[in-house]
Symmetry: C2
Subunit: 444 residues, 2 copies
Amino acid sequence: MTSDSSFRPVPPAAISGFPEWLPEIRQVEQSWLDVVRSSFELYGYTSVETSAVEQMDTLVSKGDTSKEVYGLRRLFASEDDTTDSRLGLHFDLTVPFARYVAQNFGKLDFPFKRYQMQKAWRGERPQEGRFREFTQCDIDVIDVDSVALRFDAELPRIACEILSAIGIGRFRMHINNRKVLQGFYEGIGAVDAMAVIRAVDKFDKIGVSGVANLLRDLDLDSSQVDKCLSLAQIRVADLSFVDEVRALDVKSDLLDAGLNELSFVMSELADVPDEQVEIVADLAIARGLDYYTGNVYEGKLVDFPTFPSIFSGGRYEDLAGSFIRRRLPGVGISLGITRIFSKLLAEGLIQPGLKTPTQVMVVLPAEEQRAATERVGNVLRRRGIRTEVYHEPDRIGKQLKYASRKGIPFVWFPPFHGDGVHEVKDMRTGAQEVVDVETWPITT
Amino acid sequence: MTSDSSFRPVPPAAISGFPEWLPEIRQVEQSWLDVVRSSFELYGYTSVETSAVEQMDTLVSKGDTSKEVYGLRRLFASEDDTTDSRLGLHFDLTVPFARYVAQNFGKLDFPFKRYQMQKAWRGERPQEGRFREFTQCDIDVIDVDSVALRFDAELPRIACEILSAIGIGRFRMHINNRKVLQGFYEGIGAVDAMAVIRAVDKFDKIGVSGVANLLRDLDLDSSQVDKCLSLAQIRVADLSFVDEVRALDVKSDLLDAGLNELSFVMSELADVPDEQVEIVADLAIARGLDYYTGNVYEGKLVDFPTFPSIFSGGRYEDLAGSFIRRRLPGVGISLGITRIFSKLLAEGLIQPGLKTPTQVMVVLPAEEQRAATERVGNVLRRRGIRTEVYHEPDRIGKQLKYASRKGIPFVWFPPFHGDGVHEVKDMRTGAQEVVDVETWPITT
């Protein structure tokens, strides 16, 4: 222990917005991520990992998130090296993916189906569901000139399968179509359909009367406002939304196209809903991001209606257009794993997992038996059994206590008296039996 | 395509020092990381993930790496929020681990055995084997007051097993002990043993005569210099180093203690060396970092002797001492996965992996058969078979070409004529057979 002025025996406090977990919680998070990865791969999506940083130009080209970008600075950069000051941490995985595809265009096979599971960073004020560092799990299909509509149904199916398999509790997928909105608003004679979309998107926050006021500010008359509000209140779990929209008597080819796309997805997903999953055509949602052009998705936890969306996505026509002179439309969904995980954890809905992956702890009776004991460990591990050898000769009671504290299910007793007899104790039942190191099965 | 001034159809160039891989290369990297993780877990080490950032105080307290630290800056931080400016990206996983243990001290079970597989960042000049963003895989045991010596042998065993299992080619583990060096140098009467260690550590770079000059500058006489050089040239694959050191006739209790510790590890690892792995007691290596106090490890690729070390580690007595008033010694090894991977890739020693995890592609003959085709995909996936459905009805030849280009091993033909007959084509042999969707096995 030094006594210089920098000595500070108090550990730094946790950094707000940068979540970290104890091992038994991390183990659960890791099991979630394993489910996500294997589900993505089950559908033939391939892993891509992009660097944590992008050129600042790339990051701020989307505009509205630029204030949340973390730039890098070198503490002691040499004067001739200014490269790093043009770098920032990515705030999502969509922008890096678009850049990656443009950059590697000639070397990828299309339709390019990839998943990406990485941290992203946003310098926003930490609050419920919002972190400065968080894990996103993204899945996208991107293709040249056009993307098959079937992917509009495949991606939400995968998202639902994953969250059901994890068991996050009841959740609802809201699906809408931007062409429905744009076609409808143009059809009723709105001059700026995008402005109407943005106004209606505030439904959750400001309610019917708030949206009505915004719409009147956009010079819509009361009949137009009524139609917008009627559209936004359509939320059904089947195809009846088509008739409900038709009943509003608005004519637009774009609207028709959008209704067809939305109907396709709702039909394809008809077998998905169950006790955990609801799927609704919700004609209010728009997803704030301007680049969506067709079907859009938003996921919500049913039991926490004011909690932010747990996944989102949609179809985009030209995401990589700022990087390459090819039209590369796509469709994608992003799962907010950190957001869901930390919410369920805070609500007490996640049981702590294992403190250690160890399945068997081998007792070390005395130093003279250490070589034989280590050999038992090596044999069990060669057989794929996760095994640790107790680290020092000590009272058996103390060794059992260690195993118990760490939740290790089996304790192995190597031959104590040179009689060659191995025994295993099942820590949950207390049962102990004579076993063979070459054949003993994990019976869990 | 817009024509505003920000339009830039050229994708940003790759950022030097921040490696990214094509999918078929990423797939290999991912398989490496899977081996690392499962090996760590096989020995009962638990996963920890710390945030990418640390308080700047924490990062720069170690001194010599501070010039490589990336600090964060917010592009548009509000004036009352200066928290982010005190954050930096971690440059290794050891400092974050020490901070994590100190911070969660009361909630962890000791000996605490953890692994950590994460990116780290250093703002150093990119060159062979040195990146600005790289994946480290660390494994450490930390305990209160003392750590059992057996871990000094377990960690290098795990490191060797992992790199052998991956098949990185021939590599050599150099092991030394800091007590041997310090005891020896004190024993010959050197005033500043640490300065001698630092001089001898330059052996690889400046050779015998260069080191001799440095030692003379430290006021060692020629007999002392000779002894230092003799010690540094001891490199053996067995326990004979003990006699070689004894022959130099230097007396020191610390030296004796170090020789015992080193002998222990060399004996314990006697079964590890094979065609791929060499293990040597190498009395020249010191590992630059000051915090090592006992056995130290350094890994080298045998076929690329000038390439930097591929892993390193050692025993430390008090890593978390700047955070907590408890002595928390430990022993750890850090595998430089990005460094090894990129080297073997550059040398053409890594064969590209799979472009997709898909095992079966289901042909989509015509739109009318899409529902039935999607059902085949769903059944196969429910059976755990990684399956994609071709994305649009098209000529069979084109669909087969897609499967071939992506390296998908099997193509599934659903019933074409309503006769209920499914067939599977093995793309490697060309053989095609009638199969059942509920029973067809992956025969790879």
